[in-house]
Amino acid sequence: MTILPFLAAGWIFLAGVHGMVTSRNAIHAVGCLAVAQSSTYVLLLAVGFRRGGTAPYFSDTSLRTRVVDPVVQALALTDVVVGATVTALLLGLAMQVRKRHGTVDPDALTGLKG
């Protein structure tokens, strides 16, 4: 099965989205979003894998060493940074919701309040 790593990424994504849809707690939903997003790391690294390749650093290896794709690794780094900041922002929002409405259950948040 050479497409198994790609399918694993899809599986992680669906598990995360399932968690968000069924979540009764905003903090839990933010965690599920992080799971769904982490599927993209798996997909990116799977796309960039080169059989027999090592990490793309040439500090102490020969310049002819076979390395995995550095471009997707850089993209994964961007992904991690953006994911962490979005998580922080959403947790801040969840805290405000808890303070203003006294609940973190998304289903209990009905109606707008000025």
Binding site: G10, L63, T85
Partner: protein, 251 residues
């Protein structure tokens, strides 16, 4: 939408996604394939720019403009969280209480705090040579400082954490990245072009603009994460909600 309807809708969408995604995966290049046109070009470009860490070369040289956007997202998120978590008028703040810490925890924290900060600086400074860089090193620096919270208590952390200075450092780091890009324009090239002397391959001073931008990002990420965590800790330790008088808190 009711809960059951929402879950049914999810399963319908999940089946469609699963089938389409699996079909798309079969059309991808084989897993572990040796043909990676972008990897080959990126490695060649990094070696040409004398940057041993190809990932850093991609992030801070070849795709530096994208990283400027990424770094702006980080800055905006820190700013947004500060705005969200600022003290409201009806909130009462209490003084954090001193916490009880085991002597072994205190000793471990005191030993590890300088080691962790040094590791963070090392990771930032060697971003052009070995795995790491501004983002990773910055996070190590920021979390390392919070060993003071684990090993002592909140008041000690507050004393060693100059928030006003870090606020400014966060903005200065973000601004420095954008300003460094102008060096390329001054030298007659493109914005964020690597125009500094490239140095010797494998040396600390190699890579031209890469280590400089890395340092700017390291300052921004380190300061930004400390400020971010400060506002969350502030909410957890100092703010008392109106209905719970005198409870909560601790160190």
């Amino acid at each position: 939408m009711s809960r059951t309807a929402r879950i049914r809708l999810f399963w319908a969408a999940a089946v469609v996604f699963a089938v389409a995604y699996a079909a798309a995966c079969t059309g991808l290049p084989r897993f572990g394939t040796l043909a990676h046109p972008y990897a080959t070009r990126a490695v060649a470009a990094a070696l040409h720019q004398r940057t041993a860490n190809v990932v850093s070369s991609v992030n801070f040289d070849q795709r530096a403009f994208d990283t400027l956007g990424e770094e702006s997202i980080l800055f905006a998120a820190v700013l947004g969280t500060i705005v969200l978590l600022r003290h409201a008028r009806d909130e009462r703040t209490g003084r954090p209480r001193p916490g009880r810490v085991l002597p072994s925890t205190r000793l471990l924290g005191m030993v590890l705090l300088p080691v962790t900060l040094l590791t963070g600086v090392y990771i930032v400074a060697h971003g052009q040579l070995s795995p790491g860089g501004g983002f990773q090193g910055g996070v190590i620096l920021a979390t390392g400082l919070h060993l003071a919270y684990v090993a002592a208590d909140y008041r000690v952390l507050k004393r060693i954490r100059p928030l006003a200075f870090l606020d400014a450092a966060d903005a200065a780091g973000a601004g420095a990245f954008a300003a460094l890009g102008l060096a390329g324009l001054v030298a007659g090239g493109a914005y964020l072009q690597n125009v500094l002397p490239l140095g010797t391959f494998g040396q600390l001073s190699s890579g031209g603009l890469v280590p400089v931008v890395n340092a700017a990002v390291g300052v921004e990420v380190g300061a930004g994460v400390i400020v971010l965590l400060a506002f969350f800790l502030d909410q957890a330790v100092e703010v008392r909600s109106p209905e719970e008088h005198g409870t909560g808190g601790g160190g």
